[in-house]
Assembly symmetry: C2
Homo-oligomer: 708 residues x 2
């Protein structure tokens, strides 16, 4: 029937049927073998998903596994990457380990890819070692200030502070010849580093663990920006592609980093640069005469990288449950499938949830008990670890169709980082539906407390509209939601269970992107009993059903008003004086925000009135179109032409320190030190106008549809 609405009994049934032990079994199978993007096991898992989604008893209406041909990067099997200390005649005094230790029998095997920096170019630089902290531009400036000659050196850096690739980019600008990256125990293990304090004796990263990762600056297949990576598509020349690290780069474990770093000579590094390796960190260059490499200061570090770029087939798996009433409205739910090694947490904890959710819904579907109002599309993306490739290519291929018809995108990548609390990121329209879901699901292990009640204890903020509420994070580009929100302007979210931040300051869960991210690790340390996995399955499942089945879309567009107001206030507070000095008024922006708030509030009242009524199906559809398409009105593909894919004027990357509209913040920070009337100040004005037009345009789409 055209008035089909969310059925609370079905919702309750789904919540009950989501089974922790089945998620555990899914995870065991998914993480049984390493499944690096495009590897045979990755493709086998694609077939597993396809098979599940085509199951006559618990599958979906249809499933497919389309393939893209993407440029990936792998270390050479024949010539392993190597980091060594070499003497003047080439003698090797020390060599970093080339694979992680197999501590529990789960970390070994021929399919474990050795640690490497994907997309780092091949090369064998050698030079004196320097310590460069996190490899930011400021860090290298500090070294220069300290009088250290960087030309031809090898820079040892630690993870964090900036993107992976940025470390090599910054280093190269200063003449550095090669980069090493390691994870400091201070940043990942709350300072602990001994074997007895780390896995398998705790969830902490063991000394040999190495974080792999993509060092490519953008996302999507590097050869086909804005075009799907189909076999016939135009491809850039790989030799001139922008965004790859300019110099050889290799990640190592802290066990090896300690040997290198604790043997450095030179000035003591600044306090903020010190870590937990148990020695004073010095800057170099070169080793101290009284250490393990005593002979002379011309003991060099040699970094041998033999990575290769390869065009590889990578599959997405897509499954659909066709909507009964509005099949042309899609709720998308996705996660990547590929991992660096076994990837039990990343991404299989999410895929295990995805499979359990699709099983429960598929079973109801096949029994004839239920069919959603709108279509549900499940996606298992390929090659996310190399830069969100599967999801990005998908959005490039189906740009128009997705932009016209997608209600929202739900991403559950790592479903459980830790088991303290829910954590959600998203744009304001999805806040209310996540809250609704979280309020109705019990928090695991906390009798009588809802997920919402627990969540608000860990992350909260004071909302002008609602008082104290859990705080929703904003979406960067950390997982497959990025192309949906930034490139297509689709309201998106990412849902997970995560840490108690009072108990750990780890950058991320300790075995992230290492060979230690295994089923046993999850089963023993991350979520024994899988109740947090179940909690995420329920939360994401409830959000999914509410979006697919509610007669009125549960997207609260008024909640954008609060973001706009906060951004505006930050601009007024932190940029107002500066702008005034350049005769730039925030007045039009104030007016635009007010118009948005007014239109959103009036629309909210219209929704309430309609909900009391028995509206005709077209009235509901018209209203839902306004709600669905609001996010699209913030897209402007001409706003940031140099920022590939980023078109959302509210969520594009922000480099300035003021938490305000990114175009304005970035333009101001660029103009700051230029003279009155400079092109940079004109750009500030242009960005302000782009913003005003977007907000006024958004308000116009919220106003009664037949207003002039």
């Amino acid at each position: 029937s055209v008035s089909q609405d969310l059925d609370l009994e079905i919702l309750e049934t789904v919540m009950k049927q989501l089974d922790a032990s089945k998620i555990r079994e899914n995870l065991r199978e998914l993480s049984r073998e390493p499944h690096l993007a495009s590897s045979p096991r990755d493709e086998a898992l694609a077939q597993l998903l396809l098979h599940r989604w085509r199951d006559p008893e618990s599958g979906l209406d249809a499933a497919e596994a389309p393939t893209y041909e993407a440029l990936l990067s792998f270390p050479s099997r024949e010539r392993p990457n190597r980091v060594a200390v070499v003497g003047p005649t080439g003698t090797i005094l020390f060599s970093c380990r080339q694979s992680e230790q197999n501590l529990t029998g789960e970390q070994g095997g021929p399919d474990v890819v050795p640690p490497y920096a994907a997309y780092a170019p091949p090369g064998t630089p050698q030079g004196l070692l320097v310590y460069a902290n996190r490899g930011t531009e400021e860090d290298f400036m500090e070294l220069q200030t300290q009088g250290i000659r960087l030309e031809g050196t090898i820079a040892l850096t630690r993870y964090g502070g900036t993107g992976r690739g940025a470390k090599a980019v910054n280093a190269a600008k200063h003449g550095v010849a090669g980069v090493l990256v390691y994870t400091d125990p201070a940043d990942i293990n709350d300072g602990h580093s001994s074997a007895s304090q780390t896995f398998p004796n705790s969830w902490r990263l063991p000394p040999s663990g190495v974080e792999r990762g993509s060092y490519y600056e953008y996302f999507g297949d590097p050869l086909t920006p804005y075009l799907p990576a189909n076999p016939s598509s135009f491809r850039l020349n790989p030799d001139t592609v922008p965004g790859f690290p300019p110099i050889p780069t290799q990640p190592i474990g802290f066990e090896d980093a300690k040997i290198l770093l604790c043997n450095l000579q030179g000035t003591l590094a600044p306090a903020a640069w010190q870590g937990a390796l148990g020695c004073d960190y010095k800057l170099g260059p070169g080793f101290r005469p009284d250490g393990d490499f005593p002979a002379e200061r011309y003991f060099w570090v040699n970094v041998s990288v033999h990575n290769r770029l390869e065009l590889r087939n990578s599959s997405n798996v897509l499954g659909i449950i066709r909507g009964a009433v509005e099949p042309d409205r899609y709720v998308l739910y996705g996660n990547h499938r590929d991992s660096w090694v076994h990837g039990a947490v990343d991404p299989s904890s999410g895929t295990a949830v995805l499979l359990e959710l699709s099983r429960v819904l598929g079973t109801l579907l096949k029994k004839g008990t239920w069919r959603p109002r709108r279509s549900i599309v499940f996606a298992s993306w390929g090659a996310e670890e190399f830069g969100l490739i599967g999801s990005t290519e998908f959005t490039e291929e189906f740009f128009s169709k997705l932009q016209e018809r997608t209600v929202a995108y739900i991403n559950v990548d790592i479903s459980v980082f830790a088991n303290a609390t829910l954590r959600a990121q998203g744009t304001p329209p999805v806040q209310s539906v996540i809250f609704s879901a979280a309020k109705q699901i019990p928090a695991p292990g906390l009798d009588g407390l809802s997920i919402y009640d627990n969540w608000i204890r860990y992350f909260n903020r004071s909302s002008t509209a609602y008082g104290l509420v859990p705080s929703l994070g904003s979406l960067g580009a950390g997982s497959d939601y990025a192309p949906f929100i930034h490139f297509l302007g689709i309201s998106s979210m990412d849902i997970a269970y995560t840490y108690d931040r009072s108990k750990t300051s780890a950058r991320i869960y300790p075995t992230y992107h290492t060979a230690f991210d295994t089923f046993g690790y999850v089963d023993k340390f991350v979520d024994p009993g899988f109740s947090s996995h179940q909690a995420v399955a329920r939360t994401a499942g409830s959000v999914l059903l509410r979006l697919s089945d509610s007669l009125f879309l549960p997207l609260n567009v008024s909640d954008y008003g609060e973001t706009l107001r906060n951004f505006l206030q930050a601009a007024q507070r932190d940029l107002g004086v500066l702008l005034e000095q350049h005769s730039i008024s925030l007045g039009p922006l104030v007016t635009a925000v007010e118009k948005f708030e007014g239109a959103a509030a009036a629309l909210g009242q219209h929704v309430s009135a309609l909900q009391k009524d028995t509206p005709d199906p077209l009235q509901v559809r018209m209203l839902n179109d306004q709600l669905m398409l609001l996010e699209r009105t913030f897209l402007n593909p001409r706003a940031f032409p140099e920022e590939r894919y980023y078109s959302h004027v509210l969520w594009a990357p922000r480099t300035g320190s003021v938490a305000t509209f990114p175009g304005l913040a970035n333009a101001c920070s660029r103009a700051m030190n230029t003279s009155l009337g400079s092109a940079a100040w004109a750009e500030v004005q242009r960005q302000l106008s782009i913003l005003v037009v977007a907000l006024e345009g958004a308000a116009a789409t919220l106003r009664p549809v037949a207003d002039l």
Copy 2:
């Protein structure tokens, strides 16, 4: 009711009530005074329209007159532009007339703006005169080949062959200091030029007539590309805006051009350069010793231009009839209001029709007899003559809302060029609805013949799907449809009555943009009795009603297949070999066109099946959304970044000679003379991929909505 459909009786009533004499009265009032953009009379006419649309008996539901602040260009009242022949001491030997002759008392008055080239910069160059034919790049190359030194000369050019502004751009590249432009009787009067053969003795252009026009290269307000020209909007610096003519330029009448041109010395101009001024056209430079300026060859032509740029308020007038069932679907119908002088033909013949149509519909509305299914928005655009400014700013301001909701845009600018036949331009989806309308309306003065029957005698083509049909022209950027089709991707059309091309080869109607385009001219020569105006009102009115009222949108998306097939065949025929030599295959494009055809055909069958059924309202809406949004799928704002506003991959400007996909054609013509592996050949491949992705994406939106 949600199943409200087109009511044929209402349609018949509207057709009957559209009254030729009321159109005549509208035209008399509209063209009574000159109404240059932003002039008091232009604003008074905006009020007239607003008043009509707010009439309680025959008005619309609501009407507004929002204003933009746009950069226009006017000649100085105090220092009129002047073109003169001057001697070495500055004596004036001859001066062109500074206003047209007042031949019938209708051409005079203080509000007649003297002839000028809008946006041409001020300056007073003087130099030897040369004749440069139509001022194309080829024309100037020819002069160089003939050994003529162009540096510092004044180039006399004739209208046609290329855009107005391009003549000055081309000239400046060769060092020319000033440009004159005139209309040759060969091009506008079928060769006739004497007073007795021209207005007021015929419809032909009299010797003093001068075509005004905008010489700006782009469209929209020059200071606010991609932003609406609101008071607070960011504006470019007028001194550095691209697209203005680089050198002083002035249009003159053929009476004066004759004196200049027939006195030139030098080589005889090529045969194709000769016109109908009654003398041999020579190239110059300078005047012949045996003519009117005999003394010496250093008699110069002095061009004194005193144009000024001014920020001026210009209004659009918008009126709406709210849809009864789908108020959030808009059918837009518009024309500009501003003219160069009295503008009886351009644009008032269209505005007179617009007012009559809104009166008839408004009366039915106010009587309670009728309300359309979808909303109808009428628009009277400001400042079109300066570069489609009002319509462009409107699309910039309401980009999202319009793109999401607009079913089609109907433009009727000049409604009657001449009274021989209907002429329509548009994108393929609107072909069928124009045909349906044209078949049911009698052709004026041709007993028993429909407009369609008459039309097919003048313009026709052989369609693979339908056999012989009237041929629809394609949309350039000649009127306000340009931003709708090129920038927003909204299916658009332009409708008019026009010439019998076997009787005249005039570039356009002879008094175009001159002071002779008056009510008397229309009443006596263009359309005595106004039956062609009525025919256009009926055709456009029928198209409008069919689009606003039909349950199923009368947009035939299959008709795009024929365009794609024709473009493909042209590419295969004329570019195939060249592409093959560069190892570029058209195979993927062939496949994409086939996919489009297949999806469109299947959708057509789906429509037929649904029409026999009693579909639920959401099924119809979903289908209509597919039809409405097809045109949007051809937009790619990143396809031609250097072509301002042009994003439609099928209708962007094409410079190559092959009638195929413009991106492909242009890239090929640029690559043609470059070496294998050049960046230009890479661009050909990129353009091909952009095209394939657009066509595949379009096909995806036509396929069943819940297909993967």
